[in-house]
């Protein structure tokens, strides 16, 4: 199944580019089918409802040597969901057929990169597919004309190249000192580390920290997220940054980090600084997308902090928050896209009382905000609870307290957003504003429904999560 998941979007890419020019305006349909199929496959895969054995000869012929486990399925699922939301917003937002066509193609290339990250088994291939995802994402940011979008893409590119150099140097060092670059060989080298192995591990970790926008490597993210076209922001915030940085950390941490080693302490400290720093930076923003971008930094800090918790719970907690944050942040960026489309501004100080005119956007934004802030019974509450328990059980009481207190700051900036944008008396200039179209409402409602369903169904989900986190 793994090779097909990688080759299906590639086949779609080829089909898109042999379509007659007139048909290219509908490229998003082909892309939506691919993202939809991936979502369905990922939902069915853990239950073993599809027998993939008939693909054996094909996979042997292709010989990609990929491997899919529950953690891979998590990334495949979140990429499918975020991609579908992004495509719907893109269909509503991109006016030019050529822009829509390029958007669909680049989204498919980014999807192949993400799928590769989910299923590769060695550091060099991981680096290659992180590059595929990053290059596609940088170009996606620049799809919108204008100096600000170009600046956002440029910053993203510069820091991405720095991260790439660090990771490539690390791969070379692992090859020299560990005798290979497979995850198993790297983990074996880390079990009895030499100074060169420490340097290699540190370089790779720094590269992933840059890609994940951990503080102090976070400078590029707010510009990239806020200046990208709205549909691209949904995909970037939903999955790209998490796949190219956070997921790689989740994949490597359990095998590479011993419970007593310095690696877990590094993850705890960097995660905590990022969670707190991102939250306080969010408080000061007036541009809605920038506020959501800094909020993303903060929540990714939570996931990294979770990886430093008790090993048995760490991956389950990180995986659940990974999923929840993807869903909620993709939804909030969809809400931001709807507001920008209807109001023509992202400045929260110029808004007010919008929920009266855009009730679906306001209602779904409230669900996602409260979930990210960790209020019960929404999905975000359970993942944050698991993170706190994982930290507490690992004896990291200080970090558990930081996680709880940072949630209060998160609640503060999301309540501020709700008050400034949706509540209060509507300003006269917005009195004639209408609700956004289905391109914004369908993904917003679907994502909010997932957030509520995960929250209410968590007791049924927990055994599955703890049974096969990695």
């Amino acid at each position: 199944m793994s090779d097909v998941i990688l080759l299906l979007p590639f086949a779609a890419l080829l089909v898109l580019n042999i379509l007659p020019r007139d048909a290219r305006a509908h490229a998003w349909i082909v892309a939506a089918v691919v993202f939809g199929l991936q979502t369905v496959f990922a939902i069915l895969q853990p239950f073993g409802l599809i027998d993939w054995s008939f693909l054996g000869p094909f996979e042997k012929a292709v010989g990609f040597n990929l491997h899919s486990d529950n953690l891979s399925v998590l990334l495949l699922l979140t990429a499918g969901i975020a991609g579908l939301a992004s495509l719907l917003v893109g269909r509503a937002r991109f006016g030019q057929p050529r822009a829509r066509f390029a958007f669909a193609n680049l989204l498919l290339i980014a999807l192949i990169g993400i799928n590769g990250i989910a299923m590769v088994r060695d550091l060099f291939s991981l680096y290659v597919f992180i590059e595929v995802t990053s290059v596609a994402a940088v170009i996606l940011v620049a799809v919108r004309d204008g100096e600000a979008a170009f600046e956002g893409a440029w910053k993203y590119l510069l820091l991405s190249v720095v991260a790439s150099v660090l990771m490539l140097a690390s791969v070379a060092l692992f090859l020299l000192t560990a005798g290979g670059v497979s995850f198993d060989e790297a983990a074996a080298a880390l079990a009895a580390p030499t100074p060169e192995v420490w340097i290699a591990a540190a370089l790779f970790l720094c590269g992933l920290f840059v890609k994940s926008a951990m503080v102090p490597f976070h400078g590029w993210l707010a510009d990239a997220y806020s200046e990208a076209p709205p549909a691209v922001s949904v995909f970037l915030a939903g999955i790209v940054t998490k796949a190219s940085g956070i997921f790689a950390l989740m994949r490597l941490a359990p095998a590479a980090l011993s419970a007593a080693g310095p690696g877990r302490t590094i993850l705890l400290v960097v995660g905590a600084v990022t969670a707190v720093g991102g939250a306080f930076l969010s408080l000061t923003q007036t541009d809605m997308k920038r506020m959501l971008a800094y909020s993303s930094i903060s929540q990714m800090g939570y996931i990294v902090m979770a990886l430093g918790g008790q090993p048995a719970l760490a991956i389950a907690a990180a995986a659940l928050h990974f999923f929840n944050h993807t869903v909620s942040k993709a939804q909030l960026f969809t809400n931001a896209a709807a507001l920008e489309a209807q109001l023509g501004t992202r400045d929260m100080d110029r808004m007010g009382g919008i929920a009266a005119r855009m009730p679906v956007t306001g209602g779904t934004a409230a669900v996602a905000s409260l979930s990210v802030a960790g209020l019960p019974p929404l999905a975000g509450f359970w993942s944050k609870l698991l993170i706190v328990i994982a930290l507490w059980k690992a004896g990291q009481v200080v970090f558990a307290v930081i996680a709880v207190l940072t949630s209060l700051v998160t609640l503060a900036y999301f309540l501020s957003l709700q008050r400034k944008v949706f509540f209060g008396t509507i300003l006269p200039e917005w009195s004639e504003v209408r609700e956004a179209g289905p391109g914004y409402l369908v993904p917003a409602l679907a994502l909010a429904a997932i957030t509520v369903a995960i929250g209410l169904g968590f007791p049924f989900l927990l055994p599955i999560l703890l049974g096969g986190g990695a």
């Binding site: 890419l13 680049l106 291939s125 595929v132 290059v135 170009i139 290979g180």
Partner: protein, 164 residues
Amino acid sequence: MNVITIVLVLIVLAALWASLTTLLLRATIALALTSAMLAVVMYSLGATIAAVVELSVCAGLISVVFVSVISLTQRKPFKDYLTRRMSRMRRFWPLPMVLVAVGVALSFIHSPVQVALPLPGGDGDVRTVLWSFRQLDLFGQILILLAGVFGVLVLFKKEGKDGD
């Protein structure tokens, strides 16, 4: 000091020139020089095919692409160039010193690293390795090239403005 050491020092100087110059054409020439000298180092280490690719693609083809793009730009007045050069000098003057300091520090580390690379299988021929053992990475490289093609189309081929 053998020839390789001299070439390595020249690579660093050419890379610094590429980073510090404010003229795009000079930066392109410096980058091509860096690649060409790197190809010499690769050849002397026995990596013949890597050296040929470095020379033809990195020093040759990419330089041609850079020069083609630069030919589409307009040159700023000479006064602006002088101002920008001074500003750049003021910002980046510590860079060569940092580089020398790092080099000196590294020279004190007598690393026990074995540079006998393990072969991933086959007869060690680069073509066998690429097509029989690293085909997944080749697939990734093809995707990066495809993304680059779409990047060129998106960034350099504009139509009338309509939405995003």
